[in-house]
């Protein structure tokens, strides 16, 4: 990106003045042409230096053998596609990838459903109930991840956890001393609930804002025309919700696919690696296992999966008429 800036700045050719609507800016001084680039400079410089450049290095590292020894000696040892072969030939990788996909899809869908449900509900609540609900949601949202993770471990604790105590009190005696972290599925369910609990507030508030931006008279008109609640939702709310829903789906997929801190903190991917997801694998291979080349290959594969999943939406965002001026 910096090269774009360099070539465009000195060229200084004014854009074609004949473009409709641009007449006002027909003859622009050089400072005006430079202005957008100067304004972009701090953000772009930081993103290139601390995201773009490291990302390119990760791609390069994925073709190298880089263990602790090479790292310390500063040795560069190219191994071609060995790291990828190593990862892709490991049947465990495919199990983990599938598990991550199932986890992401389940968490994204349930977060969206719960968030949308709460957003719609908020519209129909009386003021004080709505505000109580909103305060509770904000509290959930603001509680930091490390704190939340600790609380969830405590609530699901085998001996003294409030959940097991409650279940026993309700007569389900088999839950006395039940361990929620004994299997991968159960562990991931707890982690999913934890992620859901933290993610729903953001989605509910965003969608609620979208609902509020729909003019009220449209609902009144729909009611006069005899629309049922569902019909009114489909015809009036849906059009203004759709772009917002697509956006929060996009963001949720990105965030939930990359969830690391919670999974790691709960059981370090255990028991027996059964709750290991791709970000945990990345960590195990890299920082924990010092096979940075293999870890980088996992990262690149994750990136490829994410790009493949979100490509159409990103194209839509970049090409949409809204990005035109």
């Amino acid at each position: 990106m910096t090269s774009t800036v360099n070539t465009v700045l000195p060229a200084g050719s004014p854009p074609p003045a004949a473009r409709p609507g641009a007449g006002r800016r027909a003859r622009r001084p050089l400072s005006d042409i430079a202005l957008p680039y100067l304004m972009l400079l701090p953000a772009v410089a930081l993103m290139v230096a601390l995201l773009g450049w490291p990302a390119l290095q990760v791609i390069a590292i994925s073709f190298r053998k880089l263990d602790l020894g090479e790292l310390v000696r500063g040795e560069i040892k190219w191994v071609g596609l060995d790291n990828y072969a190593n990862v892709l030939n490991d049947p465990e990788f495919w199990v983990i990838a599938l598990r991550t996909a199932v986890f992401t899809v389940t968490v994204v869908l349930s977060t969206l459903l719960v968030g949308l449900g709460i957003a719609v509900l908020m519209r129909h609540l009386s003021t004080w109930v709505r505000i109580s609900l909103q305060v509770c949601l904000v509290l959930a949202w603001a509680t930091p991840i490390v704190a939340t993770t600790t609380v969830f471990q405590w609530m699901f604790d085998q001996e003294y956890g409030i959940l097991n105590k409650t279940l026993v009190l309700l007569g389900f005696d088999s839950f006395k001393g039940h361990s929620w972290f004994a299997s991968g599925g159960s562990t991931l369910t707890v982690i999913g609930l934890l992620v859901l609990w933290q993610a729903v507030p953001f989605i509910a508030f965003t969608l609620y804002a979208g609902l509020l931006s729909t003019p009220k008279d449209l609902y009144e008109a729909a009611a006069i025309d005899g629309a049922t609640g569902w019909q009114a939702f489909r015809a009036v709310s849906w059009p203004s919700l759709r772009p917002l829903l697509m956006l929060v789906t996009f963001l949720s997929v990105l965030w939930d696919f990359k969830v690391f801190a919670q999974v790691w903190a709960i059981r370090q991917g255990g028991p027996d690696g059964q709750s290991t997801t791709l970000p945990v694998l990345l960590y195990l291979k890299g920082i924990a296992g010092s096979h940075f080349g293999v870890s980088a290959a996992v990262a690149v594969l994750m990136l490829i999966i994410l790009v493949a999943v979100t490509w159409r939406y990103m194209r839509l965002l970049v090409r949409s008429p809204e990005t035109e001026l």
Binding site: M1, P54, I61, V129, C136, F152, F205, K258
Partner: protein, 277 residues
């Protein structure tokens, strides 16, 4: 709005309150556990509502060596990165939303793609970059890393908010004799309130939460941040749930204050701008 019978209204209110309680419960449980003595915590009794309270756990947590240093470090790094991300993000958002220049779509794509990278993956190159720049073990280095992490989302969201401001308002101010800077200061900036709140909350949460980079980049005990402090608690006091919960409450309080201060602008603002292209 469709008319509702009183029965429906009561049912809705009950439903709303049940959901509120469900979302409140973990926070409530963290708080009440922190108020219990070790004996109460490990008692087999069913104690959903605490009958007595002690502040002992809080006292012990705060008395731990280095607490105030960790708190200060966290506040400096977090608030600093919020301010930096807002300034750099806003500077970038305005041209991306309002100006015509070559390479604009390329920049937009860069901002979008930057959000895809798993941050744990950038660890090794990031470590080397920081080492070469002599920014390891420095709050400034950590601050810069957090700014970079939050910038793509910040730029993207703020760009949407800037686009959401009717251009006619800015043009009217220009007609009234405002310069470019005057338009920005008098028209654009005041209308961006909700957008700035939404993005600053995002940066705050990201930086306040971040654990991995803080743990590995900071070598000196007096450079650590609160998430690291909290985790050190856990290994030392594996079963002291009261202590951990008290520490968690202390850790959560600044974030809660930040949210509640901004709450009125936040509710409704979150990403309202982000879909406008």
């Amino acid at each position: 709005m469709l008319r509702k019978t009183p029965a429906q209204r009561v049912a809705l209110a009950v439903f709303g309150l049940v959901i509120a309680v469900v979302f409140l419960f973990p926070t409530y449980w963290m708080f009440t556990t922190a108020l219990k003595t070790p004996a109460q915590i490990l008692s087999p009794d069913y104690d959903l509502i605490p009958l007595s309270a002690t502040l002992e756990n809080f006292g012990n947590a705060i008395a731990k060596p280095g607490f105030s240093t960790f708190l200060t470090n966290s506040l400096i790094v977090t608030l600093g990165s919020v301010v930096f991300a807002l300034v750099a993000g806003l500077l970038a958002a305005v041209p991306l939303a309002r100006m015509r220049f070559r390479g604009r779509k390329g920049f937009i794509l860069l901002v979008l793609v930057s959000q895809l990278a798993p941050l744990e993956a950038l660890f090794v190159p990031m470590y080397l970059i920081m080492r070469d720049a002599d920014l390891l073990n420095s709050l400034w280095g950590l601050l810069l890393v957090y700014v970079a992490f939050t910038l793509p989302f910040t730029v993207w969201t703020l760009r949407g908010f800037v686009k959401g401001i009717p251009i006619e308002l800015e043009e009217a101010a220009m007609v009234d004799g405002c310069g470019r800077w005057g338009v920005f200061r008098r028209v654009t900036l005041p209308l961006l309130g909700p957008g700035l709140v939404a993005t600053s909350v995002f940066s705050f949460i990201t930086a306040w939460n971040e654990f991995l980079y803080a743990l590995v980049f900071m070598r000196d005990q007096d450079k650590l941040t609160l998430p690291v402090w909290l985790s050190s608690f856990r290994t030392a006091f594996g079963t002291d749930w009261g202590g951990i919960m008290a520490a968690s409450v202390i850790y959560a309080v600044p974030a809660l204050i930040f949210f509640l201060l901004l709450q009125r602008k936040l509710v409704g603002g979150a990403t309202a701008g982000a879909v406008k292209g």
